[in-house]
Subunit: 140 residues, 2 copies
């Protein structure tokens, strides 16, 4: 799996915040409860996103978290990178001297290409493309 549970939690929390950002700060407890995410764990994730400037955190009563960016301005790629770090596809485990391709390692190129493609797809979507829907659809 490329993306972790942490990423999933983070993404959903951001979607939730995007939907409410007009209504002032949302508390950790509310997000955790609504999205069924362990509170203490979500806390870490939001702390991390706060440090990167994606959300802003307000302490004290009537505090909470607010989205600090325009939903349409932040791409999935940025979000995922900020939560999980850059998506590394492949690590070469041969040392230079025992590398069977040493000199012109085509593998490097292939996996670089893979990374580029992943980045391209993720950069095409922003937070604004995903809508938090509070309840289940009317019924299918």
């Amino acid at each position: 799996m490329i993306f972790s549970r942490k990423t999933d939690y983070g993404l959903r929390a951001l979607m939730y915040l995007a939907e409410r950002r007009a209504r002032g700060p949302v508390t950790l407890s509310e997000i955790a409860e609504k999205l069924m995410i362990p509170k203490a764990f979500l806390s870490k994730i939001l702390q991390q996103l706060a440090k990167k400037g994606v959300v802003r955190s307000l302490k004290g009563p009537s505090g909470g978290f607010v989205l600090a960016v325009e939903p349409a301005e932040v791409t999935l790629q940025e979000i995922l990178t900020e939560i999980d770090g850059p998506t590394r596809v492949f690590e070469c485990f041969a040392t230079e001297s025992d590398c069977t391709l040493y000199g012109d390692c085509l593998m490097r190129d292939v996996f670089g290409e893979v990374e580029d493609q992943i980045g391209k797809v993720l950069a095409r979507y922003t937070l604004a493309d995903f809508r938090y829907t509070d309840k289940l659809p009317a019924k299918a």
Copy 2:
């Protein structure tokens, strides 16, 4: 990291076998030593590839492993899938009833797209595109 050390070992071993497949079976020990891969571990990987039909294994003296396919006929995608299983990009950790997108989850589409792109790149390369070079380049 998407691809594991196991994948790296497996790929290199296959490259080695591709280069020697005219010269009969190559023993586990030889591959392990030349490529600096722990023997017992490589054994597992080759066993796995043997079950999938990518290599053939011969027991007894003068036995070993032979590549069972045409290098140009087997894509990186097939090899990687056989070693590590299919590359899953994302697992949705929300249950249906607490999914904030339930109904038409765009996320699924995005990550499906990512998987497709990865597959496309990997399917463009075959074992024949990579050459095992026994020694270091003449010097740069």
